[in-house]
C-alpha cells in the first residue's frame, strides 16, 4: 500500500543527495550526501521487501555495514588530507588535475 509513496520519497532523497554532492566543496559534507543516497537506496529495499519477501531487509543490513566501513575509511582519508593540506575544501585539492 505504501510502496508507491515510499519509492517516490526514495527517488527525491536520492536526487537531493546527488545535488548535494554537486553543490558542495567540503569533503565531509560530500560524504554526508553520499550517506543520504545510501539511505535512499535502503528505503527502496525496505519498501520492496514488503511485497517481495524479507531478503530486502537482509540487504539493507549489508548496505549499512558497507556504509559504516566506507565512513570509517573515508573520514580517515579526510583526516590524512587535512594533515597534509590544512584544508578539506576539494577546490584546493587538485593534485591529479592535468
Amino acid at each position: 500500500m505504501l510502496l508507491g509513496p515510499a519509492l517516490l520519497v526514495s527517488a527525491i532523497l536520492f536526487s537531493l543527495g546527488v545535488v548535494g554532492v554537486l553543490l558542495r566543496r567540503n569533503a565531509i559534507v560530500i560524504f554526508m550526501c553520499i550517506e543520504l543516497m545510501l539511505n535512499a537506496v535502503n528505503l527502496t529495499f525496505v519498501a520492496l521487501s514488503q511485497q517481495l519477501g524479507l531478503d530486502g531487509q537482509v540487504f539493507v543490513f549489508f548496505v549499512m555495514t558497507v556504509a559504516a566501513a566506507e565512513a570509517a575509511v573515508g573520514l580517515a582519508i579526510v583526516i590524512a588530507l587535512y594533515r597534509h593540506r590544512d584544508t578539506v575544501n576539494l577546490q584546493s585539492i587538485n593534485l591529479l588535475r592535468g
Binding site: G4, L7, L8, F31, L36, L43, S49, G53, L54
Partner: protein, 173 residues
Amino acid sequence: MIVFFWIVAALAIASAILCITRKSPVASALWLVNTLFQLAAIYVLLDAHFIAAVQVLVYAGAIMVLFLFVIMLLNLGRGGPSDIKGAWGKVIAGVAGLVLAGELLLLGRLGSVTPPWTLQLPPGTVANAVAERGAVRVVAEPLFQGYLVPFEITSVLLLAAIVGAVVLAKRRL
C-alpha cells in the same frame, strides 16, 4: 497511517534539503541525523522494525557521531567562507538533480510502480511473519541461513576497514 507517512516523509525531505544547503558542517550533520530518524519512522510503517532500530543505533548513533567527531577534530564548526559553489555550480547541480528526479519518477510512472505479480507475496505476509515470529527472527533466519557466507565475508570487510582507518589516520603516513 498514510497521513502519518506523508508527514514523516515531508519532514525527511525538508531535513535533507536543509542538510545540503546549510553553510556550517555541524548544522548539515544534525539535519542529516533528523532525516535518518524520519527514515527510521518510515521503516516502522513498512513493517521493518529491526531495520528501524538498527538505523537509529548504527546510522544516527554511530556513523553520524563519527562525522561530528571528525568535524570537531578538524575544527570546521566555525564560520569561515561558504563551501557552496557559485551561481554556475548551483545551476548545474539543480538541473542535474531535476533531470535525475524526473528520470526516476518517469521510471516509477509517477509513484505507481508495481512489481510483477508472479513475484509478489500476498498482502500482509511480512506483517504476519513479524507478528508470528518476531521482528528480529524474520531478519535473522535468512541472514544466518541463506546469507551466511556474505555475512562472514562482511566481518573480513569490517576488519579491513578497521586496519585501513588506523593506518590512514596515523600521524606519520
